[in-house]
């Protein structure tokens, strides 16, 4: 079907004014008097609606159209005309309206406002609302911005495996993947389930991170990134935890922590700028109706040079304010969100990288510093949220890596291929992870992760 997208009408208005056009879309509002009426339709191509004027004198099925329910799909023929005195810049005068698919009075998205909680129960319909059409368009644009950013810099996109036999963090709570009959699985002589009979002849889980596999490709392509789904079987029923979420994980070779932080800063600014430039209507909506600090926060990020502070320096700053915190700060403990936000909001008033964390609160693969107490890790903290990116330089020295793995009780045999990277042309390298949903929440101002995932999977919930 050849129709004109509403986005084109807004972006290239002159090309269509006073011309005959055909537009297809869904009815958002409809009102009529005896002889004429107005319909606002949205076709999904653009945040804003198109206003249609229809008159009894030239619409043969006027009565039927006037009775249409919200949500109906229609195809409208007519002319685009300027409306200099109205709030919208133009409207379409219909000459013919076809009903593609009617809706009815049971349609759950009637004009009244609905709570986000209610809309989660109709996740298949909620992208038809203003809020969720804006959220999921931003999500799409931000995803593309990430690809564009890395591809322009020559990074290779790697699809690391989703089903895995290894646990990248050494500590994740994972989902098992199996084809065994759970009612009656094959068992060993000692009565345990015999996973050598499973689909992959072994136990397998859903990945918690593509980093370790990503490192192998970084040692070939130098600069790579992953961008795919990751999983945590955590029993955390909070507004910030989902069992299934997408993660961006670049990995760069011949690079240290400083290069890593530069990359993270450039990437975050790029994504935000891309959304601001490519979805100004959606971003304005968020700032007006969801969170009126959105523009302020994002402009602060885009226009700041991010600050840098070591964990040890940060602790020195924070202990002075310990009376303000629920959990007092002490060197050796991980920072809580309240501490992170205090640092970035009250002290630095802009994004800040905290570096060189105590080794005992970080993962085995992070590079040991010369003090033998801290590792070359970095967390990026941003106002309003706290941590948004976590990364590190990786331990490239085989002896130190092995020592650390032993200390942490990892099964070395599972990591033979990871250690191979340190035997054959090992290089300084670094990387980070950006939780994609956290970034979308930050950009849009949405406060529940369930509202930035099309069909969220959280503990107790896997609807649709």
């Amino acid at each position: 079907m050849k129709t004109t997208l509403i986005k084109s009408l807004y972006r290239e208005t002159k090309d269509f004014l006073d011309k005959e056009i055909v537009v297809a879309g869904w009815v958002r509002t409809i009102r009529d008097s005896k002889t004429f009426g107005f319909i606002e339709i949205n076709d999904g191509s653009f945040f804003k609606n198109l206003q249609i004027v229809f008159e009894e004198q030239n619409i043969s099925n006027f009565k039927e159209i006037a009775k249409l329910s919200v949500g109906s799909a229609i195809i409208v023929h007519g002319n685009l005309v300027e409306t200099p005195n109205a709030k919208q810049p133009f409207e379409m005068k219909a000459t013919k309206i076809e009903i593609e698919g009617a809706s009815n009075s049971e349609y759950p998205l009637q004009k009244k406002r609905h709570s986000f909680e209610y809309l989660r129960t109709i996740a298949h319909l909620r992208p038809r609302t203003n809020t969720f059409s804006a959220v999921f368009r931003i999500r799409s644009l931000a995803a593309f911005a990430i690809h564009k950013f890395f591809q322009e810099r020559g990074f290779v996109y790697v699809h690391t495996p989703i089903i895995t036999g290894s646990d990248a963090e050494g500590a994740g709570q994972m989902f098992r993947v199996t084809t065994l009959d759970m009612n009656n699985p094959p068992r060993n002589e000692d009565g345990k389930v015999d996973f050598t009979k499973d689909f992959f002849d072994r136990e397998t889980n859903l990945t918690v991170s593509g980093q370790l596999e990503g490192e192998t490709y970084s040692m070939a392509f130098r600069n790579i990134y992953t961008f795919g789904p990751t999983f945590r079987a955590e029993n955390s029923n909070t507004a910030r935890h989902a069992a299934e979420f997408w993660m961006v994980e670049p990995e760069i070779a011949f690079a240290d922590l400083r290069d890593d932080m530069e990359l993270a800063e450039d990437m975050l600014k790029y994504i935000i700028n891309y959304c601001l430039e490519n979805a100004p209507e959606e971003m304005e909506f968020f700032n007006n109706f969801v969170d009126n600090t959105v523009f302020e926060r994002l402009n602060n990020i885009v226009n700041s040079e991010f600050a840098h502070v070591t964990y040890t320096e940060a602790v020195d700053i924070l202990v002075k304010a310990n009376d303000k915190f629920e959990y007092p700060v002490k060197w050796g403990n991980d920072l809580q969100t309240e501490h992170e936000r205090y640092l970035t909001e009250q002290i630095f008033k802009k994004p800040v990288f905290v570096t060189d964390y105590p080794k005992d609160i970080k993962a085995f693969y992070m590079r040991m510093n010369d003090d033998n107490k801290t590792v070359a890790a970095m967390d990026l903290l941003v106002p309003g949220v706290g941590e948004i990116i976590g990364g590190s330089q990786r331990e490239e020295r085989l002896d130190l890596l092995e020592k650390r793995m032993k200390e942490m009780g990892l099964n070395m045999e599972d990591y033979w291929w990871y250690m191979d990277l340190r035997k054959y042309g090992s290089t300084r390298h670094a990387g980070f992870g950006l939780g994609f949903e956290r970034a979308i929440m930050y950009i849009t101002g949405m406060t529940n992760i369930r509202d930035v995932i099309s069909f969220p999977r959280t503990v107790h919930t896997a609807e649709f």
Copy 2:
């Protein structure tokens, strides 16, 4: 670290000639005589290597360098000079060489050729070879081309869920996802496993397709696409089956089968053109060393208007050649690869869409044709492979959809949200699926799916 990428040296040679540069990379070959030597290094940014000349008179650690093993990581300082009489256009005269990380004689990728089978056992190292560096750069570029194609047309990228409670095809062999203790799961009174105690309070599986969820977004955004991992727990140990693979699934509203085929044709041409233009060195390598029909096949696609034939017409053509086939053709049976290839290679000599298949060999959601015997499905067949894309117009009429679901014994309650789409503003719509790995195999000439996936998951195998 500030170094120059080898890709820049090839693409913007003039900017670097006779200038001091620093390059970092891995040794691919090394040879030396008493007082000088040559190293070819690759830094992963480009398919081709950079030749380094190093001489005893100005390299302080000459002896150490001369003994370096293949695979070692080095950082080279020096000048780029033209070499008009050599096979490579330029080389780098080293003034200083630092060893970043040595390799050793146990490095599995010594200069000799290795079989693809062997290289699969070292999947963490194989991207360092010519063949696999070319494969995985093409994979990355093709993935980006897909995003670019759809984003330029305003399509919204949707991340449909990986963990699902529904089976999109109504017939897939699926992987179960669970956190229950398999040795001793909670059980009902009747002794069966009690999945209401599982993480999501229900049985869940890995998705076989994002289509049904994609349709819900198409009814809001009109034009959407998914691009993510999908799973089949099929016990098929062939060169074309993987348990985990990526799929591209666009879905377009106010669109019929004809629009769907136009989109598929445009997309396929776009991806191929993008690879040909952005990776000419890799594509030449494939044509010279992997499959010397690559250019011919791809040019044929890019330059053809794809043909169209109905299934019924195709059967009429094929039965005349039944003596050529292992499986004779008969109306009502699915086409085998031998039939598909005969059609596209012998009859049409170019890509061909076969449309309007018998309803009984297609999925429940495909739109019934007026003959009540066939559905508005399409398969795209290409020379050398057979089917590469499968799609259909979807059944948008609630009564016909319900009838078909009942006939096929589906549990209607599981699909309440899918049927809602037909109640509230239903529209003509269509979509298709492209198996991403099949596309990469087609573009590169690689014949085993295990060789186009970074860490393949197939029956019995989930290494790394």
